[in-house]
């Protein structure tokens, strides 16, 4: 039964050595090892957390970007529409102005033409009257140069008068 009876020396040495080992390893091994492991765990955790945060930030940034892009696109559309409208307006106005000017020019021209026409007509009338008088004078002079012609003419007048 030697196997089951603990020897005093081994009991003593085991106690001393093991207690010493617990303290020495606790100070020199477990403390640095466990604190390093804890540090690493923490750093991994923070890395994971920050990665998650970055992911969320990226997503929000992306949605922000999209919003901005949409807004920009809308603004561009509005600007384009406005520009087109303005251009149209200008075009129309220019057209209208030009028409107006042209109309005015035409009217003025017409008026001038009318005036000139009237003037010309007046001249023509005056000249025709002059011509007529001259012709009539000449004719009279020629026709009444004889007595017979004169008589005939007087007769003609008288006939007319009778008829009236």
């Amino acid at each position: 039964m030697e196997l089951l009876t603990p020897g005093s020396g081994l009991l003593f040495w085991q106690f001393v050595v093991f207690i010493a080992l617990v303290f020495l390893l606790g100070k020199m091994a477990w403390k640095p090892i466990l604190s390093s492991l804890k540090e690493r765990e923490d750093s991994i955790q923070t890395a994971l957390d920050s990665a998650e945060k970055a992911k969320i930030e990226m997503a929000s940034l992306k949605s922000d970007n999209e919003k901005l892009l949409k807004q920009a696109r809308e603004e561009r559309d509005i600007m384009l529409r406005e520009a087109r409208d303005a251009a149209n307006r200008l075009h129309d106005q220019a057209k209208a102005d030009a028409k107006k000017t042209a109309d005015k020019i035409i009217e003025d021209a017409k008026a001038v033409i009318n005036i000139e026409k009237q003037a010309a007509l007046r001249d023509v009338r005056a000249q025709v009257a002059t011509f007529s008088i001259e012709i009539a004078e000449k004719l009279i002079k020629k026709n009444l140069s004889t007595d017979k012609a004169q008589k005939e003419m007087v007769d003609g007048f008288i006939k007319d008068l009778k008829l009236n």
């Binding site: 603990p6 020897g7 390893l25 640095p32 090892i33 466990l34 390093s36």
Partner: protein, 361 residues
């Protein structure tokens, strides 16, 4: 058990044959070297004791001698293969005395008396009185080797944590780290509870001490440290002391005046609970001691079969068995370290747990 004597069967003629067989078959494995040592051991003993042919080769004595503690450390047989360890004895008559255990052996390596001291059953007596023996025995030397190995290894790992701060572990560090994490996260944390940090250094040391003690014990020529009842007893007692010194009110209430139980039952339960305090370290002591010693005995018995039967075939067969049993022993080394640490954690956890919910069961 009878007084140790040397095996006397003469089979030195087969010595070289056995050696050759074992070396060829199993060189490189623990068991081969074990067997080889065994062979040397026995044959040399035979040469020494040739004059007493009448005594039988006693395998059980050889085995028991191997798993027991001793004042000398045999690597090879005879005076030259033996490491004589220091003997430290304390007696009321002579005080503290330190001398080499060489003095207990004569030139034929037979036990003799020295200066009034004598060794019987590995115990030292002065005359007829047992002495306080604090000798550096084979197991104490093994204990120093184990402790030194753990210190060197784990402090070097701790240094590499400082050196490799913030980097992935490498080398020895990556071997130790998973074990540390396993003990911390799988054994200590779930069983001790939220206040586990305080007990972690002790439980980690316990695990590594037992694990490496077990593994070193499997090496050829080494001592059966964790299979010695003194070693397991001290470990169990330390767990016992830690458990009961840290036990909170609820723990002691549970033992002394179990709540939620009728008065009559409480009186019956009280002695059961009191015995329970002591059965815990007792079971820890016996479990580790028995598991490791039994493993060694099985290995040695299988090796010994060859020498009992004097047959090549048995040698080959038992050697194959020894290889497999050695592999199982490697497994057992880990399992026993795990179990001892697990139960220590459990006992400590039970003593410090908040038992608030337990009052209504």
């Amino acid at each position: 058990m009878t007084v140790k004597t040397y095996p006397k069967k003469p089979f030195s003629s087969t010595k070289s044959a056995f050696l050759g067989l074992f070396i060829t078959l199993l060189s490189g494995t623990f068991s081969a070297s074990f067997a080889q040592e065994e062979a040397l051991h026995d044959t040399t003993k035979v040469e020494i004791g040739k004059k007493e042919h009448t005594e039988e080769f006693n395998i059980s004595e050889v085995i028991i001698e191997h798993v027991m503690d001793n004042h000398v450390w045999h690597f090879f047989e005879g005076h030259y293969g033996t490491l004589f360890l220091p003997v430290i004895v304390q007696t009321p008559e002579r005080g503290l005395e330190i001398f080499s255990s060489r003095n207990f052996f004569d030139e034929r390596h037979e036990l003799i008396e020295y200066n009034g001291y004598k060794i019987e059953h590995n115990r030292i007596y002065l005359g007829e009185n047992p002495v306080l023996d604090l000798s550096i025995t084979k197991n104490v030397a093994m204990l120093f080797i184990n402790a030194a190995l753990l210190l060197l290894m784990l402090t070097s790992v701790a240094r590499s944590y400082k050196k490799n701060a913030g980097k992935a572990p490498k080398g020895l560090q990556s071997f130790i780290e998973p074990i540390v994490l396993f003990v911390k996260n799988e054994i200590v944390k779930p069983n001790v509870g939220p206040k586990y940090q305080k007990f972690l250094p002790y439980l980690l040391t316990l695990f590594f001490f037992i694990l490496f003690g077990n593994l070193l014990g499997l090496l050829p020529g080494s001592a059966n440290l964790t299979g010695n009842i003194a070693v397991t007893l001290v470990l169990a007692l330390i767990t016992f002391v830690i458990t009961n010194f840290n036990g909170n009110k609820a723990y002691w209430m549970h033992i002394l005046w179990t709540p939620g139980v009728p008065l009559l039952l409480r009186i019956i339960i009280l002695p059961v609970e009191l015995i329970g305090i002591f059965t815990k370290p007792f079971s820890l002591t016996i479990r580790l001691f028995a598991a490791i010693t039994a493993g060694h005995i099985v290995l040695l018995s299988l090796v010994g079969l060859t020498f009992v039967f004097h047959s090549w075939y048995v040698g080959v067969g038992s050697s194959i068995f020894v290889v497999f049993i050695s592999l199982i022993e490697l497994l057992v080394a880990g399992i026993q370290a795990y179990v001892f640490t697990l139960f220590s954690s459990l006992y400590i956890g039970m003593a410090i747990a908040d038992h608030g919910h337990d009052h209504d069961h």
